[in-house]
């Protein structure tokens, strides 16, 4: 065997070891960095997107997340209870102590979503990476999912949509809710609400991969006490709350 061949073999061995070190599994990397999923690759169940909401950091009267969501996804300001609302600010006050808690409420992206169970046309579905969505090509607007959701996260579009967003199609006669900004997530970005919260300097929202033990969200959930809303229902939501 010549020296050249020997060197080439060594190089190949080093290269494959390096590749194996970075990629633990297809679509899952050792290092957690923002990266867009390449064209032609489906969402992977190796990832589970989730959010940690720190209510102690959520400021009273601030609705940056709601405004950012409206701007990003193109839903109008709600005026009546029937209007579309993907995310809303909730203020809770404990009467005995007077303690006030602020938090944003939206789709909790359950692992066992009741909206998906009841949908008669399989329009409600959970994507491989845990994002619960409405396939509006199939939605017939029956609104069973709205009744099934314990978080009142979904809305029905009563009025014709006039000014559509290119990234987030919306239409009259269909049900919709938080998509975790699925188009942004696929591009390797953070959801609009998370980005706006950080921009306001509040850092109440942490978004990331729950399956990756090294991600910021996983590390925070490990180190800080957090709860999921209505854990008794066994829906295993992707959202956790600190300070509730």
């Amino acid at each position: 065997m010549s020296d050249i061949n020997h060197g080439r073999r060594q190089f190949l061995a080093q290269g494959s070891a390096l590749a194996a070190g970075i990629a633990i599994a297809p679509g899952m990397l050792l290092f957690d960095f923002a990266h867009a999923r390449p064209a032609g690759v489906p969402a992977s169940s190796a990832v589970r997107w989730g959010m940690l909401i720190d209510t102690t950091q959520c400021e009273s009267g601030c609705d940056a997340c709601v405004t950012a969501c409206r701007k990003e996804n193109g839903w109008p300001e709600p005026k009546t209870a029937q209007d579309v609302q993907w995310i809303r600010k909730v203020e809770i006050k404990q009467i005995s102590t007077g303690k006030q808690i602020n938090l944003p409420m939206m789709c909790q992206h359950c692992a066992e979503p009741p909206c998906v169970d009841v949908c008669p046309t399989a329009a409600s579905f959970k994507r491989a990476d845990g994002i619960v969505l409405v396939d509006k090509h199939r939605c017939i607007g029956c609104r069973y999912c709205m009744m099934a959701c314990p978080y009142q996260a979904r809305s029905f579009v009563h009025e014709p949509v006039v000014d559509h967003s290119s990234e987030m199609p919306r239409g009259q006669g269909t049900v919709e809710s938080c998509t975790l900004c699925v188009d942004r997530v696929d591009r390797g970005e953070q959801p609009a609400c998370v980005e706006s919260c950080a921009k306001e300097g509040h850092k109440a929202l942490v978004f990331g991969d729950l399956n990756n033990p090294n991600s910021e969200i996983s590390q925070r959930i490990r180190s800080v006490a957090s709860i999921k809303l209505r854990e008794d229902l066994g829906l295993d939501t992707a959202f956790s709350f600190v300070g509730l």
Binding site: A128, K136, S166, T174
Partner: protein, 148 residues
């Protein structure tokens, strides 16, 4: 009687000839006025040749839309946003609006209702599409093949 009959026959022939000439003269004019005059916007090279697109554009994204929404497979060569990006009129920045606009013009001509834009934007998107969009052909199993 014979004279009358021949006169009648000749006039009938003349009228027929006149109609034939009129028809010939009018045919190209009809062709021009009835076909839709489309504002193709930016235009340029389409993903397939225009003849194929005219007949099959809807099949190219029928299956692709399920792949995008349900599996998250993005960056197809065939995307509705790409159609709109190239074919939005430079006059009103849309593929709809008047019977000259690319989508509306042809669909009015063909009397086929378009559902796409009840939910999707008829205006070009704000950011460029995925750069390498030739990586997959998700429509291959379902879209009718081009005749060789």
């Amino acid at each position: 009687m014979n004279v009358l009959r021949s006169l009648y026959a000749s006039s009938r022939a003349r009228i027929a000839a006149l109609f034939a000439v009129l028809l010939l003269a009018m045919t190209p004019a009809w062709g021009d006025s009835l076909l839709p005059k489309l504002d193709i916007g930016k235009g340029g090279h389409c993903v397939r040749d225009p003849k194929f697109m005219r007949a099959n554009h809807m099949y190219l994204i029928l299956h692709q839309r399920d792949l995008v929404v349900r599996q998250g497979i993005r960056g197809s060569k065939y995307e509705l946003t790409n159609c709109v990006d190239c074919h939005a009129s430079k006059v009103n920045n849309s593929v709809l609006g008047t019977n000259q606009n690319f989508c509306q013009g042809c669909h009015v001509y063909a009397a086929v209702k378009i559902d796409c834009f009840e939910c999707h934007s008829s205006k070009p998107q704000h950011f460029p599409a995925v750069a390498d969009n030739a990586a997959i052909d998700p429509t291959a199993p379902i879209a009718p093949k081009e005749k060789q």
